[in-house]
Symmetry: C2
Subunit: 606 residues, 2 copies
């Protein structure tokens, strides 16, 4: 094994800084300051100090040891990347492997100091560590980002122009949204509110940014009182248009880097609202200490913006429907392209994804992909976190299936859709699985349910056709989707498992949610069919309001993988009805007569 | 208004006792010491002091005022019964009406004393009062049952012989059950366990009693340590056979009246397990103080016996299936009797119930009814808590429907079943509602679900056919049922609504649960169809275990109220399959050829 002197050198520097700062153990997890889905290069501290670049991992360094914790997806990759670095791999979940908490509780001596950048650690983890280590009187040092002092060529914090989206496009002005938020603050008895969640801040201000991959958000905080609204962003992100807008609507601008000193300088004359799930440990501790000193309480409630944002207004819905139709048409053309060209031109998972991404980019109002396109061929589609790269990807041949999960953010909406495309011969087993998956997707979308239902009540509709044949999928059935925002948002979801104490959000008209059952057979094939649906009013009676779902996604289901013998009559009816709607909505958006003809055939009644 | 001098006189005596004991406000709720579903006459203190005898109500008395809190079902009855007593009616849930807590917090002065018998108040309510009143430094006096000193001719505490049921009938010995309980205690880190729940104590000891109406349980407590098992019952309930059994299996007997002094005399050398939901406030406080003084912790966990009891063993299941078949046959004969005789002989809701109760009593191994039979004709069936009495009941004519919800406890099982019987002409609306109710019942029973599902995942199967026509029922779909025990037992249930923090029990093979959708149209008709089903293994795959339900109840569904035009093909298939099973199971248990012939017709395929 050759030694990795680069990493070793970095660890030497880190340990020197630790000593200088009186830190015995230093922990580096994988997150930005806002627990975003994607972290920018600036935040890749763990990778810098150990070389491991998987999407999940925490590095802990002491004077004598260094350990990296990651999960089963990354054991092999981590082993390779850690070779020669002196960093020990801790395989999370394996028997006999301590958790980080257990490791620290065991190794650390009485009164030692654990350090980490409290801004990249969730309050839940921070509090758990604090409690676990309190027995040994270990103290936490959470206000030091040691990487900043060691990592000379560290990339800058992402810093891109913010832009304003018009009230017309948003359907509701910042002023009106703020009024609702202040009403909630009053209801909760809060006189100030620190909002840390990036997409919530963007939604509330009708601004967008570009600091997180695939999420049109700016690094920011919002501090709200009865008469003030301060938005903390990086000053160089503020364009003239943004400044003018902020002045006009009454948004005071503060420096992102100085949010905590601003809060510390403020006088707390009443209770402070925050959402523990979304507030990092450093911010939480700072707020908490200040509140304690000011003799006011901290009110931990779900960010009220979360539910407001999730229930789309009429303007948003109208735009979303249009955007989804165009996005559906593009995906339909892509499917046609794949089927026509597979086996005839060179095609890889990666090149197919590029083709689709390009088609989306050509659509009006395209901003960016809503997440990196997943393009997975045959057995690759059975792997949960498979990612094809230009260097490492399968060739798509005229045999089997290609699963494509993709979406875009446009002026007017964010999309997410999955189709599994038949590109050649498939087995009867695949047809059986495919048909059951489609039945599940359609049956959930066909639900009629009373106000008060959450996703836990409805999940069985999607799973039942698979459960009937002894198959299940190990992921949720549905997640919320932002409006020109993050492709994953809460508070609602469609999941079936019970978790003690977990909260659930009631499904309300105007929410949009994914409906994405799947089948994953290791080493063989993966199927996922994902539509986005909108919660709509169906009717009202003396018993209450009854809701249903309308499809937003209109893309053909591949009939080459459907066999009626595996469907009940209800599912057949739903498929034919859906396909007739697909044709009606998508045909006018397609120009090529050849594709129109193919679409007619692809959406025929069976 | 004439004065009710009897009640007034009782209140005078009560107030004198309050003064003597330094109690400013005295509260009398509706419960026994174990929060049983039915309270014996001994516990009717609230009724004694105000005259109101509904099933729910709390009386609060101070030197100058007396107030009775009850819910909407009882406003009219309470108004009548309270007339002339000087007791004010507080209509719970109406706007502007304070809750008891609010009333006390408002009326009571600093440092006054609130008294109640802590044995008839749940710990949840006790703690809430304690907290709410702490601001005013109000103290609670919870060890005084003032009624005992005032109510001269108070009925005695129920006291009936206990009996042993054989290990053969129970399928598992006390020793084996105790081993399981002790294993759980160890897992929870408890060295002692006070079990307050009567049906759990009966299940664990393989004993039964007769101290609560329709519940074959004895008033009791069990105190369990690693090497001791003490059962506290009223000494005069212990027959020679019970004493011999207890000696043999190692059950030490204590006096029910002395359980708390026993606990106080014990040395607590480890943590104490208890279940807050099932432990009354007085018991809880006594345990808590003793634990605090002994420097050990209280471990609040769901009684481990609850889940053990709910998952029936093979012997229990075998007996249950037999008992349900016989009980189903009796109800089938009753339905025949009703249909044959209605309009020809005098028949009332009450007399019909008597007839059915008599038929059950004649069955082998009959012990008692599992609850008072509900017999409700036409519009009466739409009332949630309707109870026909000999004095006040409707005549059953050859028109409309009779809803009968009933059950028995037998050696070998406890039953619960509802059928709504057509006795004459019914409207098309009724047929539509009836058909949807039946479809719901059958569709839930047809569920296939993965291990991990709770009733919240499955409830929609029962409601969907009703939701589709804008109807809902305002009660749960299913509850667990005891084995020769209480007709309602946990921890599982089938309900759809989300309650923050509420626990849910995963459905496991061997659990039995009711499946009882309904339609209630005020002033017109009420429909409920209730089968009991058993959770069974269906199949297992690499994705886990999949379960389903088997029917335990085999009683015809009234085809006179079914119209295929309101059913989908799946429901029709399920109904025909169910009816063919009913015929197969029940026909051999019926002797009368006329009824056999009728059953054949009543279970015909449609």
């Amino acid at each position: 094994m050759s030694e990795n002197e680069v990493i070793k050198g970095r660890l030497v520097s880190l340990r020197a800084k630790m000593k200088e700062n009186g830190i015995d153990y230093y922990m580096m997890p994988t997150s930005d300051f806002h627990n975003s889905e994607y972290s920018a290069d600036f935040f890749k501290v763990r990778e810098y100090f150990c070389g491991f670049d998987g999407s999940n991992g925490t590095l802990v360094v002491s004077a004598d040891e260094a350990g990296l914790w990651t999960d089963g997806r990354y054991f092999i990759q981590a082993e390779n990347q850690l070779a020669g670095t002196s960093v020990t791999l801790y395989r999370m979940g394996e028997e006999g492997v301590p958790t980080i908490e257990e490791y620290l509780a065991d190794k650390m001596q009485e009164k030692e100091v654990l350090g980490f950048d409290g801004r990249v650690v969730s309050t839940e983890i921070g509090e758990r560590l604090e409690k676990k280590l309190s027995g040994k009187k270990i103290s936490l040092k959470i206000d030091k980002d040691l990487a900043q002092e060691v990592w000379i060529d560290r990339p800058a914090l992402p810093c891109h122009d913010i832009y304003v989206i018009s009230d017309e496009l948003c359907g509701k002005s910042f002023a009106d949204k703020l009024k609702d938020v202040r009403a909630k603050m009053k209801e909760y008895g809060a006189s100030a509110y620190l909002l840390s969640k990036l997409d919530d801040i963007m939604w509330l201000t009708n601004l967008r940014g570009n600091d997180v991959e695939c999420n049109p958000v700016a690094l920011s905080y919002a501090y709200i009182t009865a008469d003030k609204f301060v938005l903390f962003v990086q000053p160089s992100e503020v364009t003239i248009a943004v400044k003018e807008y902020c002045d006009k609507v009454g948004i005071e601008l503060g420096d992102y880097a100085e949010v905590m000193s601003y809060v510390l300088d403020s006088s707390f004359d009443g209770n402070i609202l925050y959402d523990k799930r979304n507030t990092n440990f450093y911010t939480y501790k700072t707020l908490f200490d200040k509140a304690t000193a000011s003799k006011v309480s901290m009110i931990n409630r779900e960010d009220p913006t979360e539910l407001m944002k999730a229930v789309k207004n009429d303007t948003e819905l109208e735009n979303i429907r249009e955007v989804y139709a165009r996005d559906s048409a593009a995906l339909t053309e892509f499917i046609y392209w794949v089927k026509k060209n597979v086996g005839k031109i060179p095609m890889t998972e990666y090149s197919a994804a590029m083709k689709l991404d390009g088609m989306r980019a050509a659509l009006p109002g395209f901003i960016e992909l809503s997440f990196p396109t997943i393009s997975a061929y045959n057995a690759n589609a059975a792997m949960a976190h498979y990612e094809a790269t230009q260097e490492a990807c399968a060739e798509v041949k005229a045999e089997g299936m290609l699963l494509v999960d993709s979406g875009g953010t446009y002026m007017g909406g964010t999309t997410d859709v999955t189709r599994t495309i038949v590109v050649g011969k498939i087995s009867d087993d695949i047809i059986k699985h495919y048909t059951a998956t489609v039945s599940g997707m359609l049956n959930l979308a066909d639900a009629v349910f009373k106000d008060g239902c959450t996703g836990r009540n409805l999940d069985v509709y999607a799973r039942r056709p698979l459960w009937d044949i002894g198959i299940d999928y190990n992921h949720g059935t549905g997640h919320g989707i932002g409006y020109m925002l993050n492709v994953h948002e809460g508070p609602h979801s469609i999941r079936w498992r019970f978790t003690k104490g977990a909260n659930e959000a009631v499904l309300k008209p105007g929410m949009i949610v994914s409906d994405e059952p799947g089948v994953y057979i290791e080493g063989s094939h993966g199927i996922r069919i994902e539509n986005i649906v909108e919660v709509v009013n169906r009717f009202e009676s003396e018993y209450g309001k009854f809701y249903g779902f309308d499809h937003l996604t209109y893309v053909p289901i591949d009939l080459e993988a459907i066999d009626k013998k595996y469907m009940d009559s209800k599912s057949i009816e739903l498929l034919n009805k859906y396909h007739s709607e697909v044709y009606k909505k998508i045909e006018p958006l397609i120009n090529d007569p050849e594709i129109k003809a193919w679409l007619k055939e692809a959406t025929r009644a069976i």
